[in-house]
């Protein structure tokens, strides 16, 4: 039985499928299969050992995924402008007071605003924190 050949075929298939599906774990399994093939070349026909070694390699790779992939993941990522509002300056559109929320315009977006002070329409504010639909604002200092 040429197990190493079977392992090699399995590894090839896994890697091809990985390329088609982008799930990432198939790549680790493929590398595990490659390791098993290597073991088979050294100790022929020790199937259980090969399987265990292959699984271990795949598991270890999985556990150390983060440090391994940190280099590869160089994408800039995407920052949602609407959610990066803290520290920005806005203008009050409708009066804000502690017991009645108002409306603030930050950049091109209109949000409901809460504040601990009374702020009149037209004044500048700074965004302190963001809730899911409300912004905490304070008067703009300076």
């Amino acid at each position: 039985m040429d197990w190493w050949l079977i392992w090699l075929i399995v590894a090839g298939v896994l890697i091809v499928v990985e390329m088609l599906t982008l799930t990432f774990y198939l790549l680790w399994l493929g590398i595990g299969a490659l390791a098993a093939a290597l073991v088979d070349v050294i100790f022929p026909d020790a199937v259980l050992l090969e399987v265990i070694v292959g699984c271990l390699v795949a598991l270890l790779l999985t556990i150390f995924t983060k440090p391994l992939t940190r280099r590869i993941q160089t994408g800039r990522g995407f920052k949602d402008a609407g959610l990066e509002l803290v520290g920005m300056r806005g203008t009050i559109v409708e009066d804000v007071s502690p017991d009645a929320p108002g409306v603030v315009k930050v950049g091109s977006e209109t949000w409901s605003a809460k504040s601990n002070e009374v702020i009149r329409q037209g004044e500048s504010v700074i965004v302190v924190s963001r809730g899911s639909a409300f912004l905490e604002v304070n008067k703009w200092e300076g």
């Binding site: 292959g54 999985t62 899911s132």
Partner: protein, 308 residues
């Protein structure tokens, strides 16, 4: 036996590994529960889970989403039933609250938007609703935000796509518009007629004034001509009279120079008497002056004698 163990080990390893690596695409987020309790959010990129104790409860899309609300019948302030078709733009801003705060946030967002819409349109007149989209959008904001704050959802905007008044109202609106337009047309017609009349009258007045002015001018000129002619005539007459008088005066002067006296006169009177006597009348009344004159005949004879 060895084969079975091998297969079991392989299957276990494959399942374990396949469940422990999760690649999350950008702008999606997963909510992870560790043994039923919320533990963390899966961020975009590669994430490692521990298969037995970790479980991904749900995924959320963080992009702005649109939900089309089916046409609703809403009653305006002036009691008109309008069919209103809206679209809601919303975004998940708090994935935890969107998971644990409300069972189905999409359904919730639709319902709350519809209800708030009803409320706001119920405070507006029909005409306002047809033209006040901006107002509807801004009015709806705070009301919605207060409700959706706990759901981790922010309603970006509510847009009114279409407002359909009932057919008879639409008909009335059309009629109103037609009436408005025909009114405008009539008014314009009337204006035109008025302008026309005014202009005609103006023209008439002007022409009459000009005619009168012309006549006046002509008459004045005529009168002036006549006056001048008369003056000239009078002057001529005066001159003629004067020259006649002058001539008479000259004649008398000449007569006087020729020595006109009693005798000549007497002679002339006699001649006149003979003339009278020769007239066709049978009776001749001789004025007293003539008797005197006859009486003076003797004197004449004396005179004649004296001459001899």
């Amino acid at each position: 036996m060895g084969m079975t163990i091998t297969i079991v080990v392989v299957v276990l390893a494959v399942v374990f590994i396949s469940l422990s690596i999760k690649i999350i695409p950008q702008q999606r987020v997963g909510v992870v529960e560790r043994l039923g309790k919320f533990s963390r959010l899966l961020t975009p990129g590669i994430n490692i889970l521990i298969p037995i104790i970790d479980h991904v409860r749900t995924y959320h899309d963080l992009r702005i989403q649109q939900a089309n609300v089916p046409p609703q019948t809403v009653i305006t302030k002036d009691n008109v039933q309008v069919k209103i078709d809206t679209i809601i733009f919303y975004q998940v801003t708090g994935p935890e609250q969107a998971t644990y705060g409300i069972s189905d946030y999409v359904y919730g967002v639709r319902n709350i938007s519809t209800a708030t819409m009803r409320q706001i349109i119920g405070k507006m007149e029909l005409d306002e609703t047809l033209s006040g989209r901006e107002k509807i959008s801004s009015d709806i904001r705070i009301a919605l935000d207060e409700a959706t704050e706990k759901w981790g959802v922010r309603i970006e905007r509510v847009e009114v796509i279409d407002i359909q008044p009932p057919a008879d109202i639409q008909d009335a609106m059309d009629k109103q518009m037609k009436a408005e337009r025909s009114k405008r047309a009539l008014v314009l017609d009337a204006e035109a007629a008025k302008q026309d009349m005014i202009l005609r009258a103006e023209g008439d007045k002007q022409s009459k004034i000009l005619k009168a002015e012309g006549e006046k001018e002509a008459r004045i000129r005529q009168a002036e001509g006549q006056r001048q002619a008369k003056e000239l005539e009078a002057l001529g007459e005066a001159k003629a009279i004067e020259s006649i008088a002058q001539a008479e005066k000259n004649r008398i002067e000449r007569l006087r120079e020729a020595g006109l006296d009693e005798q000549v006169l007497t002679y002339r009177s006699l001649e006149a008497l003979t003339d009278i006597a020769n007239g066709p009348a049978n009776k001749v009344f001789i004025p007293t002056r003539a008797v005197d004159t006859l009486g003076s005949i003797g004197a004449i004879g004396d005179m004649l004698k004296e001459k001899k």
